[in-house]
Symmetry: C2
Subunit: 324 residues, 2 copies
DNA sequence: TCGGTCTAGTCATACGTTTGACTTGCAGAG
DNA sequence: CTCTGCAAGTCAAACGTATGACTAGACCGA
């Protein structure tokens, strides 16, 4: 490439990196750019990395890409990263028990510049200790370590408040059966709010399930059979399972049973009746996480407090006054 | 690291790459491995790449990660890649009009070893011409270039056949409004099969829409109003919109209207009644695409013919004999 | 004429590996 | 005692880039 343009390799580098100011004549600059274009020349990224020590790739670890919600987060993250010249490596934490070790390895080996982990569990989190300055955690287990947090508690408060206001007194909680802080927070917030407004909360009014449709449907059936008139779900998918369960039991929503979801994925508007649910602004979440990580990596002002993403209750047609 | 173990860095390299056979004493091997573990040493990937010329990253370009279907494909791809020591870079083609240029650049600059493109359009496809040996296309526009193809035609044939067998004669086609070969194939296969079995196909019995819920619902309403008794949809999401439309028009499924989807995502079983749809084995698809790419990159036997992924019609409760 | 300054570049090194070619020490054969 | 062969390592070159240090020439003022 340098040979082709009859200049030294250094000159090429200077021009292509825009550091030619006062060192290379405009004519030469044009010549080099033209030659580069003609040959379709691309600097070798590995060599650049090796020399400069910094790469432009980051990893985003999500629990389950199959869930549309994480898809939304990922797209937003990818866009935000791209705007700043970075690429995003995909890591699915459910299919790889060693994901945290792998990520740390990637950071150590400079394969990636840093990473974002979505709701890591405490065990995984510990492994990131000595590369902590290259990691942003969303909903970290350790308070203060989070880069991005959600206002889970206040959202769950709105959910319970909404149902109580409609007149429900036997409110069930359909929880997600995953050992994540976010779900423990939801449970805690649910119970706290129930107690605060003086509603009883029977242990039979609590069910937990994975997101597998059949499993969740069975769990939901039992929960409904316990006599609740409303259900707060930890996820829209669980709400979908609750719909199925209700239908199989011959109950109508919201006439016989009110249901509230969580996440507001597309499914929420495709269910009938449309699902009342908590909206998480996935795009803002993804964008914010990437922004924080890159700011830190590039040495910009480090913000000590986590970014708080506000959730909001979207009331649709799946909630109404109790009928039974 | 080499200093720490009192050996030369060549020796370290040999041991860590398992090429120590007959060149390094077992005792030294152990020493080096132990030291590496103790220091948490990771070889610098950029340097390795630079030296060897081959990287272990590949990119997977999908149209829209937010659709759960692509999530499934991606997970499978990521797992398959990981098993062979590769990482997967995410590229969303809808949010980046320059995605193909970027991918070609990444290949040229050796940032990635190769890539997979899911249903590229003809224009994008052309840009990959001179790096074709590092690209696997799923449902390519140019026949014979595909690495992986789907049996779209025969699937659509099953759909029409199923509906005709139930007694439907006015069968509508709710198409996806995207300029992709896969959707053109579906349209063509639909029309061909209708003609083959001697059914008329009015142009009013054809609608096309993007996947945006409200838009799709309106389009579906018009289609239903045209008097069809059954609808074959290009995607489960469109089928979901058809459900909405039917409800808004006061029609019941499958009593008044039969609906068939495409893809068999989780939504299909959450809709009520459960959706009859075409199942695409997403995991096999993702795995196969990665397998072909890596085989090619690593110089294994090149298979001249594309892999065919078989689709199958899953009959659930959304189809029945016509009632109107 | 000479020293000084500026412009337009080139030179050489370092980044951390991999790998074919070389070295060293030692045992056994002749 | 020398020679051969082998085991166990080391040497050094290369991969493609970025960049601080250097230089050749032009031009100017004194």
């Amino acid at each position: 490439m340098a040979r082709e343009a009859n200049v030294s390799q250094s000159t090429v580098s200077l021009v292509l990196n825009g550091k030619a100011e006062g060192r290379v004549a405009p004519a030469t600059r044009e010549l080099i750019k033209a030659t580069a274009a003609r040959l379709g020349y691309r600097p070798n990224v590995s060599a650049q990395m090796l020399r400069t020590g910094v790469g432009k790739t980051l990893a985003f670890a999500v629990p389950d890409i199959q869930q549309p919600f994480f898809g939304e987060v990922l797209v937003a993250a990818e866009v935000a990263a791209r705007e700043r010249g970075y690429s995003v490596l995909l890591v699915d934490t459910t299919t790889d028990p060693l994901w945290s070790e792998r990520l740390v390895g990637m950071i150590r080996s400079r394969m990636i510049a840093g990473c974002i982990t979505y709701t890591p569990d405490a065990e995984a989190e510990a492994k990131f200790a000595d590369v902590a300055d290259r990691v942003v955690m969303v909903e970290s287990e350790t308070p203060g370590r989070s880069g991005v947090d959600l206002t889970i508690a206040s959202a769950m408060k709105s959910v319970v408040g909404h149902l109580a206001e409609l007149g429900h007194r036997r409110i069930g909680h359909f929880a997600a059966l995953y050992p994540k802080l976010t779900f423990r927070s939801r449970r805690a917030a649910f119970l706290a709010e129930m107690e605060r407004i003086g509603l009883a909360s029977d242990t039979r009014w609590h069910a937990a399930s994975t997101f597998e449709v059949e499993v969740a449907t069975e769990a939901a059936k039992e929960l409904i059979a316990s006599g609740v008139t409303a259900i707060a779900c930890d996820d829209d998918l669980l709400a979908g399972a609750a719909y199925r369960a209700a239908r199989q039991l011959g109950l109508s929503i919201p006439g016989d049973l009110s249901v509230v979801g969580f996440n507001d994925v597309e499914l929420a508007r495709l269910l009938h009746p449309e699902l009342t649910t908590v909206r998480i602004p996935a795009d803002r979440l993804g964008r914010e996480a990437v922004g924080r990580l890159l700011d830190r990596l590039e040495g910009k002002a480090v913000r000590p407090h986590p970014t708080l993403i506000d959730l909001s209750l979207i009331v649709r047609q799946s909630t109404a006054r109790p009928g039974r």
